[in-house]
């Protein structure tokens, strides 16, 4: 199993950990080498002194050694050393070292507990010599120990500073990279949500992040320009068509008036109705573009959706009655949210009209507004023929009218407009099977 860190944070954590381990090893080795070298130097000197006392090759008698010790005690280069020579009975023959108990033969360390005057860190060499005597040479290692302690402290402080620098540097890199990536993510989210004018902040430093942000922004500019071109082209076409269509409509309306009581009347009335429908499509398309542009969000104000449902219900009741439908409105107290009252009104009108227009006479249609958690659900339920579940998404799409009965009115933009208005308010439209019939539910967040 291989572990490969994926996140920047994990990579940096691994990097800093490796650095710490390596630093610890290097600094530790450094300390151990110096420490050992110092100790070896002390031991070498003790051995050399002992050899000088014993004499070459190993001849000296106790008396000779005592004389040599006495001589060394007055020599300058041996001033920091302590000597002891005991005969086989354990009696001191020469030297100035006082030890309670003798250390074992060979090298050994002693401290305060040995109670040697003025020595807290000492090193002793004990050797059996001629005539069963014992020679002890000890050195005062206080200076060496102090140096050793300083060396250890210096290595430790150095290690801590280096670790802090690496960890801090890695943290700063993670923070800065994350901050830039977050800024880019925020922009991507905004663009995905339809705000094509959103851009990644640039600080003008021209560093690699700034250059990348600029390149990203340039790409967004390009997309925005292309989208605007498409939009403008569509709008231009629509406007170019709408002027002649409006004039055509005027002329057809006049023709239809003049043709009253002539054999042409039925035809001219039909042409007028067709022209009306084409103009309706244009009006709906323009409306859709206006809503999708998102500019109307700046005019949001508190709206009581329950109140909107009641006034729309009042308005459409005669229309439903004329269509032979039973229409009712249910709300549960005020239902406030921040929105565009004109658009919300149009949304509810479209929802109810959709039910009236796409069901046969005698259908029961119910409009309701209720709070579900943090959303308001505006629902229109009918017990008409309904829409197959697989077609629910299609009918919301632009011109996605279900062509079961092509003689029914409607240009297929009603639910698209409802969806666009819902999305402008941070909500959505969904269609459900009311078994029998259709249930269209707009869920709007109370706090967008």
């Amino acid at each position: 199993m291989s572990f490969r860190p994926r996140s920047l944070r994990a990579i940096m954590l691994l990097y800093v950990s490796v650095i710490v381990v390596v630093l610890l090893a290097v600094r530790g080795a450094n300390y151990v080498i110096v420490h050992d070298a110092l100790n070896r130097e002390v031991d070498r000197r003790l051995a050399q002194e002992a050899q000088e006392v014993i004499g070459e090759p190993r001849a000296g008698s106790v008396a000779t050694m005592a004389a040599r010790i006495a001589a060394k005690r007055h020599a300058h280069e041996s001033a920091d050393l302590l000597f002891l020579l005991q005969d086989r009975t354990g009696r001191r023959v020469a030297g100035n070292l006082d030890l309670g108990t003798l250390p074992p033969a060979g090298y050994s360390d002693f401290g305060d507990s040995a109670d040697v005057d003025g020595v807290t860190h000492g090193r002793a060499l004990v050797r059996r010599v001629a005539e069963g005597a014992t020679l002890v040479i000890a050195s005062d290692n206080d200076v060496v120990a102090a140096f050793d302690a300083r060396l250890f402290k210096a290595q430790l402080v150095g290690l801590i500073i280096a670790v802090l620098l690496f960890a801090g540097g890695a943290g700063a890199i993670v923070w800065e990279v994350s901050r830039r990536l977050r800024a880019m993510q925020t922009t991507v989210d905004a663009v995905m949500a339809g705000n094509l004018s959103s851009r990644v902040p640039v600080d003008g430093s021209r560093n690699e992040f700034d250059r990348q942000a600029s390149a990203f922004n340039a790409m967004l500019d390009r997309i925005d320009a292309l989208m605007a071109n498409v939009r403008h082209a569509a709008r231009d076409v629509a406007h170019e068509l709408k002027s002649p269509l409006a004039r055509l409509h005027t002329r057809v309306a006049a023709l239809e008036r003049h043709a009253a009581a002539t054999p042409l009347h039925a035809e001219s009335a039909a042409i007028l109705a067709e022209t009306d429908q084409v103009l309706e499509i244009f009006a709906s398309l323009m409306r859709l573009w206006e809503i999708e542009g998102g500019h109307r969000r700046s005019r949001f104000a508190p709206v009581d959706v329950a109140q909107v449902a009641h006034t729309v219900g009042e308005t459409l009741l005669p229309v439903a009655e004329d269509a032979g439908d039973a229409f009712s409105v249910t709300t549960a107290g005020p239902a406030m949210l921040s929105g565009d009252v004109h658009l919300l009104r149009q949304m509810v009108v479209n929802l109810v009209e959709n039910a009236i227009r796409h069901t046969p006479g005698g259908t029961r249609i119910a409009l309701s507004v209720q709070r579900v958690g943090t959303t308001l659900e505006i629902a229109v339920t009918d017990d008409g023929p309904g829409i197959p579940a697989e077609a629910h998404e299609t009918v919301i799409l632009r011109f996605g009218r279900l062509d079961i009965a092509s003689d029914r009115p409607g240009q297929g933009l009603g639910l698209t407009l409802v969806d666009a208005i819902a999305r402008l308010h941070g909500g959505s439209l969904r269609l459900e099977d009311a078994a029998p019939g259709l249930r269209a539910v707009v869920a709007l967040p109370i706090e967008p």
């Binding site: 406007h239 709408k242 002027s243 409006a246 004039r247 409509h249 005027t250 057809v252 309306a253 239809e256 008036r257 009335a269 007028l272 009306d276 309706e280 009006a283 323009m286 409306r287 573009w289 206006e290 542009g293 500019h295 109307r296 005019r299 009042e314 308005t315 459409l316 005669p318 229309v319 009655e321 004329d322 004109h342 009104r345 149009q346 009108v349 479209n350 009209e353 009236i356 227009r357 009115p409 409607g410 009603g414």
Partner: protein, 225 residues
């Protein structure tokens, strides 16, 4: 009527002038905001049709300047679709009404007449008459030939609009704007449904129907008196 058409696009202006001429109206064209201001202050017009997007001074600026100079001529703004903010700013600047381009000439004519009615009727105490029908807007009371009509709020408002604009057409758009405050056209025949109810009340005793349907445009009450 004598109209000032403020429109920078020559082709659109020419078509609009010819359409209005078909309805019997004389028009003068001003191609930009500055010319519009000069014309409107120097000359007398029955109404100004004001495009919003204009060179030099835009339509909103023209409306504001005219009102600042005390010129009270009815102003109808013509705006592009999808620019509701401009429409609202235009109304704030002193325009009396707005229409989305391209507007049908009959709609323009109906709007201008409606503005003229509104300004003419200053102190009628809310009482308006058309033939044998009398409405009191303040008291919410409608009477035909001595018979009190039972009209719900919306139907009553429709009747008021028809009588206020008697002898000229009230378009569907005008009903949606004044009675319902809708800035869109519903897909169902809301106006037709309500007119049917108003008619039913007006003709409950078998009287003649006073409301004339202008196909494809709207409705009108004719008062010969």
């Amino acid at each position: 009527m004598r109209l000032l058409v403020v429109e920078d696009d020559a082709r659109t202006a020419r078509l609009l002038v010819s359409d209005l001429a078909d309805l019997g109206h004389d028009s003068v064209v001003a191609p930009d905001g500055r010319a519009a201001l000069l014309q409107a202050t120097a000359d007398q017009f029955d109404a100004v049709l004001l495009d919003v997007m204009l060179p030099h001074v835009d339509g909103i600026g023209v409306a504001r300047a005219l009102r600042d100079r005390g010129v009270s001529v009815p102003i109808v703004m013509l705006t592009a679709l999808g620019d509701l903010d401009q429409r609202l700013v235009g109304l704030d600047a002193g325009a009396d009404d707005y229409l989305v381009k391209p507007a049908a000439p009959v709609e323009i004519e109906a709007r201008i007449k409606a503005i003229q009615r509104r300004t003419a009727r200053a102190n009628d105490g809310g009482v308006m008459r058309a033939g044998d029908i009398e409405v009191n807007e303040v008291k919410h009371r409608a009477v035909r030939n001595g018979r009190v009509l039972t009209l719900p709020k919306l139907e009553f408002q429709m009747l008021c609009e028809l009588i206020r604009n008697k002898n000229s057409v009230v378009t569907r758009q005008m009903f949606y704007r004044t009675v319902w405050d809708y800035d869109f056209e519903p897909a169902t025949n809301i106006v037709e449904s309500y007119i049917r109810r108003v008619r039913a009340q007006l003709c409950a005793n078998g009287e003649a129907d006073p409301i004339t349907t202008i196909r494809g445009v709207g409705y009108m009450i004719v008062d010969q008196g």
